[in-house]
Symmetry: D3
Subunit: 322 residues, 6 copies
């Protein structure tokens, strides 16, 4: 497949034209405050595994609306003092999976938490978290659930869960609140970017081929789902374009980037037709934090850098948190 | 494409092995009673169209949980006395669309009602009805929404809506309660069959290439969505097969067929890889009513008989309701 | 799929470079005159249906070469005086189908005629009209039948049939010759545009995602059949490009548009890879009539506006013919 | 792709159930007699090439209806006495191409004639022969042209052309009428088989992965065009199955095989999803001639044996004609 | 997609008809002896990572022909005494990747070694090991490299590498030679099975959706590469079938299974069209060891059980090696 | 499919930016000298065919490293004096096939030699020549075999074979060393261009839709294999881009073109997504010889001009060699 989007040098020069809603910060402040006011119970239970070098825990915490959200917490078996924290959010359709997966962060000395995504967890790994909120007419998938009203949009709940996970974790005695990092690939990268844009406690963010950025551009350039869920919705709801993009403005990674201050390591894949590279540069170039860099994978599609990027992240974060 | 399933004479001889839950009838009796007890408001408002030979109305009625369900009602402009009623349910992903579509029933003298399907209405025609109930982890689409609990399964709400639509319509002065028919293609045919299996007021049912029949066979033979949503769910939730099929037993067209008594005109397409023809024969051969027949389209895939079948339905129903 | 052609604002600014043959008008004048000179018999027979609110007739009339052409005529059952006329031409591969299809025009008070397309009528609906003229070597489909000689090209016959249908209809007592409209989707839109470019009796034309426009551009931008039939023909007949495009100049919707004066309502789909949107704008921007407008469906492929466009057409035409 | 049809040993044991029309022989006798009665002019003109070891001629001869049919005749430059004749018919969609193609027969000492197929010659090689006969509604391609009437079916004309080619060639002084062979791949193989079934002058026939055999089986097993043209026709013309197969009975290679007496070398490809191998065995097992054999290519799709089969044919025919 | 192969209960009852060459054991005995006689150098160097809970080493050892083969060795950071050993072989096209991947075995207390596959390591993860042996004409991929001579076949070298890896590891002071297990998915499972069939030191083998089993069946049932490399080879080399399958008999997992005695945990996916499930049962049912079981994933394609199977393996092996 | 690359007039104006390594000529001089120094045996044996007008020989000659390379030599049966020589190289994946294929050159009076390609000959025709050199990790196919070192790259061996074929042929008494031409399609065209760039004895070169040109552009524009083998290699070996393109500079048709002086007839297909047309113009516009022309096939994909181009070549070469 030829390159589906801009290539260098035009790619790096791309600037997103996404508009920032005037009440963007206020919307999110109110949303988080509302969730915190509702509160809810936390449960941290040892998981049943054969693992010895690390310890795994099955966690439940209150997210948006106080709804119970699941996650796996994995700690080094040998530890002392407060640990740096790494929270990972999960890609589209997946769930938290099993605690024995993705052990490289805990094995490197981090308190590692992988958060489930509500209502997903059936596409390529399993989840255990419901989204107890219904929907207006929508296209299969979550991209258009409640898309006609920013208060009702699906990702309002997910991004709130992401911040509430940090609320829960910083309250634990093994976490060093001065060393909080978030990461994720694709949707997980989009959630990480949103969390960094909302929550100032986050010191480092590593969005890997992030999704949920620069929607107006994304729907023009994506060649595959899930951005195309929005296209298919608009293909039927031919009279709803303005409303849809009004809502999406409150959930656009470009706008979160404009607010974020944490150190940032992005990655982008130039052949990516799921998360077109210009949309990633749209967020990266808008990113407000001073300590930012981006790894570029020229000949990769949405798989991006994979283990190469994991290694880059481990080295980059070690330089900042050691 | 070669034939994807059995062909004649094996096809016509196929009998489904689906089990009937002991409390099947009780489950549905309780479900409908619960919905009726909740009740809700009905609204019938003239629609704004250029139509002259027929009159169209925008209808809202209370479905499962009292949730508001939409539909279009179209009546002959010139009418006298009570009319035979034809209720149509809609195929997967679609919605009620516009009142100027599908006018052949009203133009033939029927009170015609096309019911919206909650939460869908974005795939190939537009709907206006929300499904205000959330979901556990599920595959995109509605097939696995709440599939681990029969009380929570999506189609429990939809099939209830289908019966509650008739409750609303028989209360209108223009409807002849002795001449009630239901029809639909694909999912619409599955809903029609469910309605006929639950509601004894229905005198004629015309399931056209019906979906939602003989799930254990369907997941083995279907070559395309939406049955494959269930396959993909089980591909991840590898430990949930028994639970999934326990739930589906309460929603299987074969079981509704075993309870139905209305006159029935089925159709089946022998090259159908969406609703495999054996699953349709599974329901047809189980159908309890004595007046039953089936139109077979040998060289068609899921489009089935289309206008040929519309014509066959109009003639068949005229012979019974004139 | 990303947008396959120009997007706004470049799209709306596109002007076709198609050349107008010097004898274009003369060619069509002579062609129609020749068909009228041959003449032939007209037959209008009541159709056998269950319809009550409308009356349907099976029509045969003489087209190009006096060949018998079929169509369905549908009239409101309750009518008085002369009716406005709406003639619909059919999309590629289809036929006139059944009289109970597409009743919204007759139900809105129009004399409605759906013309069969000679030799097609097997692809997605059935027809009943032969094309009794043979062909030189050609690619499957009709796009290259006789393409090396403008006198022998397939669409010379079809466009003549379209005008001869109006000849037949204006002779009927129920038709108001001052209120003649033509419409059609895709190929039907191309035929409607041709008819409006040839026949000054037509007062309104509604080409919906029209095909058969701006061939030199179309063969560069189309991603799917049937424009690609021409590409495949030229892929073998590598030495025939000049001849092919010389012929096509006499059949290009851009050239018909340059001659047409009727009020016009176009539609275009920006994601259309069958009839690339620039080719539609090529015809629209060239359209000579003063009363012209275009509905744009940004996120649709070749399905275009469907019931949305039907509704728009009904309202637009009602404002001009009431 | 797995094997799309029967495999050995079931494959070799397959017997076709095609019925032989009572007037099959009479139909073809009358058809050929009619064409001969019409007659027409023959033209044999040297072709302009750089070839030296062979001589090429551009030939026109009268086929069905006296229509002019083209072909290339290639003779060894050094020759003496009458030559064995090899007539090749061409695969679906192709034409006679250029005289410098396929020189192995002429280079081996045969008078070689490659006949154009009327109205095709645009799909993968070019032709120069028109089919001046029109068509009723049909699916793109030639498979359904005139299929509702055996007198009007396309292949009635083509098979007649094939026999008339031999009429023309046996009249030439360089042809040895005792050594006439016909061959062809796919459609060409079907035509060769038809010619051998009609014309007793043919002493050897080499149908290579032949098409046009055992239609009732073929439409069930073929995975790709062109047999599927018939399926698509019947998918729309849902009420025409009996008529279609009645016509096809007069054009089925199985029936021609039942009449043929020439020595025969078939080939079959076991993975062929264009011409399913059981349909080839259907013809082979029905073949009446005593000297028959078949080359089987187990792991090939429709490409069959290609140069391996050319070599096998050259050796097989040399043993019979030397 | 429907099930591509047998389903239960036929599936579990399938027995392979693969023949065992008389000199099978002798062939492998000689092959391994030859490699051991050549010998070569071993290098074990600490890898540069951020990992703390485990220690990683970059290993080079002599494989077939003494060629240098790479692998990653990962040990628990906290360890005492000899550790159970788990050797993993890699799937088709992949390489050893990075040491921070797949840490669950080392984190569970095993000495874990992931062996590179010579000449691959470019398809979905990177490798660092050359295959310094050339090839006769072959299809892209390794399946047909040297396939016309069992001495020259590619997998003769790979399977020898697999055994030589164990030679190298049992010589290390941290390995408990009484607790050696091998595993792998797809090609890795095929290699593991071969190793268990050759090397009696192996006490446990866990072939996960194994490849390289029951070739005669596999080439009939596989729907995707890499088995189809063999089909494509035979599609061209139409005269080499006997030779190809003669060679493959020495490399068939069914024959290795007939020789293996280790405890075995297989997995199989019933929708697998890469490694058809009957070929896996072909090996499983032939497996000679008494302690054998199989996990079946009914609704999975070649991805099989993934993390579910990892968990099952960890539990199963812990019960045998603790 | 729309045009995948530049169209006219931009296409013809395209200039490649490929860099010429300073030691390009020296590298090839040394490579050829090394092969000549090794030498090896030549064998020319009559082939067993039925051909009479031409004589065919099975040839083996020493290529790179003295490795035995096969080819078919075909001479006119009637000949006198020294003949012009035409050497053809074969497309990707193919082999020399059979001597009875492609007889138009020998039939036109040329000594015709078709060289096998080492290690290929399994994809669409059969070969008989091994590549006895192994490989580092590589993607299936030959494009990345040894790509990290110019001395080890696969095409170093193939291009040397191409020149060594001419060494062998000019030594034969029937060859006129003043009339040597080379040709080939796709990979064959790339090899022909390389031979013409290395070997001054070649007087005419006819690269038909040549492959192996302008790699940096090709990997950006190709839509299908085999250029994408390089993309997939770099998708995994994310850190090897510089090394890969350093190697490819020594094997780029653009650089060979800059050195070549023979008369040249190129062809290019504007819809070619295997060998993008700009890469062909990149070589053509860089071609140093004064007598150069190019045939352009506007509506063809990689099949290019086929028999049209064969005819053009025969005429073009006859004008130069007669």
């Amino acid at each position: 497949m030829p390159f589906p989007d801009l290539i260098q040098p035009e790619l790096g020069a791309y600037r997103s034209a996404v508009e920032m809603p005037a009440d963007f910060a206020a919307f999110w402040e109110a949303t988080i405050a509302e969730a915190r006011a509702i509160g809810g119970a936390v449960s941290i239970v040892p998981a049943d595994t054969t693992l010895k070098a690390v310890e795994a825990f099955d966690v439940t915490f209150p997210g948006f609306g106080g709804h119970p959200i699941k996650g796996w917490l994995v700690l080094p078996a040998v530890r002392s003092g407060r640990l740096p924290l790494l929270v990972q959010y999960v890609g589209y359709g997946g769930g938290r999976g099993f605690p024995h997966e993705q052990l490289h962060w805990a094995a490197s000395g981090y308190a590692y938490f992988r958060m489930d995504t509500r209502g997903q967890g059936s596409g390529w790994s399993t989840g255990a978290t419901a989204d107890p909120v219904g929907t207006t007419p929508s296209i299969p998938g979550v991209m258009t659930k409640g898309i006609l009203d920013k208060q009702d949009y699906y990702y309002r709940r997910v991004f709130t869960d992401a911040v509430r996970a940090i609320d829960m974790l910083v309250a634990q005695e093994f976490v060093d609140a001065e060393r909080i990092a978030v990461c994720g690939g694709s949707q997980g990268g989009g959630i990480a970017l949103a969390a960094a844009g909302i929550d100032g406690r986050i010191r480092a963010v590593m969005p890997d081929v992030p999704f949920l950025c620069d929607y107006p551009r994304a729907v023009q350039k994506a060649g595959r789902d899930p951005y195309l869920e929005i296209v298919r919705f608009l293909a039927q709801h031919r009279d709803k374009k303005a409303k849809v993009f009004e809502t999406l403005g409150y959930f656009d990674g470009v706008n979160f980037a404009r607010q974020a201050k944490a150190a940032a390591l992005f990655s982008v894949a130039v052949m990516d037709d799921v998360c077109p590279p210009s949309t990633v540069y749209g967020a990266f170039n808008a990113y407000a934090g001073a300590d930012k860099s981006i790894e570029e994978y020229e000949f990769n599609n949405h798989e991006g850098g994979q283990a190469f990027q994991d290694r880059a992240q481990m080295l980059w974060l070690a330089r900042r948190f050691s």
